[in-house]
Amino acid sequence: MSDEPKSGQLLQANPVRMKKEKTINRREIFSWLAVAWGAFAAAISLASGATVRFLFPNVLFEPPTTFKAGFPDDYAVGKVDTRWKEKHRCWIVRTDAIIYCLNATCTHLGCTPNWLDTEQKFKCPCHGSGFYMSGINFEGPAPRPLERFKIVQGDDGQLAVDESKKYQQEKGEWNDPESYVRA
C-alpha cells in the first residue's frame, strides 16, 4: 500500500518526525559551545591586540633632547648661568677650568631649586636641600648631588647639551669627558 497521499487528502504532519528534526543532541551542543567560545576568544584576542598596539604610537611628538647653548665665552667665569632654567631645566656653570651643565632637579623629591647668588648655593624651596655651585649636596634631605647633563663643544664652537644623558657624581661619572667641556 502506498504512503503517498491521495488527491484531495490533507497532508497531516507527523508529530514524532517533527520532534526529531528539532532536537539538538549533546554532541551538537558541545560543538556550538566550542564555536561560540572560539569566536569569543578570537574577539578578545583581537581587542587585546588592538589595545596593545594602541600603546605604541606611530609618531612620537617628543621635544628634542639636545639644544645648542651658545659659545663658551657667553658664560662668565665663576658664575651660574640661569638662562636655560625655565626652558630646559638646567644651569650652565663655568669655572676657571671647565664648563658643565647641572640638571635643575632636586634629588630629594624632584622640585626645582633656585640659585642664590648672594649665598653662592642652590636651595630647594620645597624641603630646604642645599647644593654648592659644583652641585654637591651639603644640607637638607637630598641624598646625593645634582646630576650633570652631557655637554660637548660642536664643530661650530657652540656648546651642545643633551638632556637625555646624565652623569652622577657618586658613581664617579663626573670624570667622564662628556660631563664637562674644558674652558
Partner: protein
Amino acid sequence: MIRNRTFAPERIAFALFLTALLCVACNQGLEKASNALIDRTEARWKSNPIPNYRIVVDVKRPDEFRRNDITVRQGHVKKAFVQYWDSRKKIWDNTIFLNESQALAFTVEGLFDTVRLELENSGRPVVRVAVTETPPYLQRIVLGQFWQNNQAVPNSQATVTVQQFETLQPAD
C-alpha cells in the same frame, strides 16, 4: 512565576560593588592632604609614639626608584641608608649612607613634615596621602607635578610609600 530580573536587587548591588571597587582602585585609599589631616594623624602618633622602629620607604620618580631604610632608636635616627634600583641589572645598587638631616625626612615624624612643607612651598596642586590607623602614620604620599611660573614642570612628580614598618624592642 516568571520574575522580572531587570531591576533585581542583586544586580544593582553588584553594579555598586564594581563602582566602589573602581573608585578604590583609582584612589587606593588616598585623600587630599591638608594641614588638618596631617595634624590629626601626627597628634594620634604622638599620643602613643613608638620610640624604636625600622621603616623602609620607597620613593618613585619618573627616572628614579630608591629605597630608604631607616632605624630609629629612642626617637633618633640610629642608622640610615638609601639604595637605588638599577633597572638594567635588576638589583638595588648605589648604596648611600644618610646623615640625620637626610634621613629625618623618611622617619614617621619626618613624613608629616615632608607633606606640610609640600603644602606650603612646592606649588604642587596635587598632594594626596593614605593614612594607616595602627600605628597612625602616612603610608603613602602622592605628589603631583611641581608648578613653576604657571607651568607644570615635566617629570617632577613623586610617590613616597612606606613599604615596611617594624617595631623594634629596646634591646634589639
